[in-house]
Symmetry: C2
Subunit: 238 residues, 2 copies
């Protein structure tokens, strides 16, 4: 079995906030760090660094974020592990964490960091619609973070993976019941799934020992939330 000692592990963080813009409508913004060494010297990058032998990935992410920006979110969520073969000149798997921070916390934590005298000068906040050229695959990482954020809004279609192309509402409810480990009220369930717009009724029915039940299919105009914008390199081609 091939050893992997030539693959290194790094951590990065995507910190998103909503800040007031000139037009008074809030816009998304995030902090970047200007690199001081090769590769990608002078390019902007996400805050981050190497995972060390004695710390967990999330601790390494919190440490490197704090050292550069002074930010200390109460919780860092793991966003994704980026490991494409060609994402860096050497082979690096990057474990990326993210957090949403309220603007008032950003202001307070940044001010405290500046006052401490330990703040590096190469940190800057950018609106997400005005990002500079970025090091490594960090533009893709930010794009992915924004996609995840957008997809957190809305109704998931997780049971789709268990079901054939056409299914009854009872099939769907049973799948959810197995997932949730509890019974669901059929009338409430029907109302909820019908209100999402994710299901399309067909003109076919399942017949059998019970009264005929209408078959439904998923609305394929709604993109599957879990596939994401990463493209083929992050997707199995098997």
């Amino acid at each position: 079995m091939t050893q992997t000692s030539d693959i290194r592990v790094a951590v990065s963080t995507v910190i998103l906030t909503l800040r007031a813009s000139a037009e008074e409508e809030p816009v998304l913004a995030l902090p970047l760090v200007r690199r001081t060494r090769e590769p990608f010297a002078d390019r902007w990058a996400l805050p981050g660094g190497w995972l060390t032998h004695t710390e967990s990935p999330v601790d390494a992410a919190a440490r490197t974020l704090g050292e550069t920006t002074g930010l200390a979110p109460s919780y860092l969520e793991q966003l994704y592990a980026f490991g494409a073969v060609d994402r860096s000149p050497t082979r690096v798997v990057s474990l990326v964490y993210w957090a949403l921070l309220r603007q008032d916390d950003v202001v307070a934590q940044s001010a405290a960091h500046l006052a401490s005298g330990r703040a590096p000068e190469n940190v800057q906040w950018f609106d997400i619609d005005a990002l500079p050229p970025l090091a490594f695959d960090h533009a893709k990482i930010i794009e992915y973070a924004l996609w995840r954020l957008r997809n957190k809004v809305g109704y998931s279609r997780v049971a789709h993976g268990f079901l054939p192309a056409e299914f009854t509402l009872a099939d769907l409810r049973e799948a959810y019941e197995a997932i949730l480990g509890k019974h669901l009220d059929p009338a409430n369930f029907r109302r909820q799934v019908e209100s999402t717009g994710n299901l399309l009724p067909t003109d076919r029915f399942r017949t059998g020992s019970h009264r005929p039940a209408r078959l439904y299919r998923y609305n394929t105009d709604v993109e599957l939330a879990d596939r994401g914008p990463l493209g083929s390199e992050e997707t199995s081609t098997r």
Copy 2:
């Protein structure tokens, strides 16, 4: 900066299916592989192996899954990267992928693998409520996969991270609008969020240049979906 060449990267897969039980109600099940070497020889483990220098993590996950089980899901989603310092006798970060497979696909792919003569004898499917003792932190990984599955059902509260403890529906809508990059109809938005049960009205109002707007807070009886069951070791303590 500390080098990380003493940290190795592995991949594992969690494949979930719904299969009919004796009681006719479907139950969740997944395939495990009995280990043939130390550490944890003879224990059951998730299908997996080492990430090699020339393949992406998802390709390594698909390869090792196919070699052991013959399963070839059309899509493997990244579940999580597990990297706790003490999760293995040596330092190993495991990138875990998962997929939901329909039972008929499981049957067809397993049969083809058996017919090929390449199928190892140490693979077995287990109902998730009757798992054997597992190697490494694989019991925790499966628990996490089930948690993710359950939390895919329901309405997310992602905007919570941007907002103070109490906020108006207009605040909330503006946060969503910034996230989604589009305008939302206020009346529809109000109906949708009120129907989720995630928001509780307070008896306080924001006053100002417009007519008074009621303040809301999140219903803290509803657990924050993104924190998960991983406990303190995966959570920043900063």
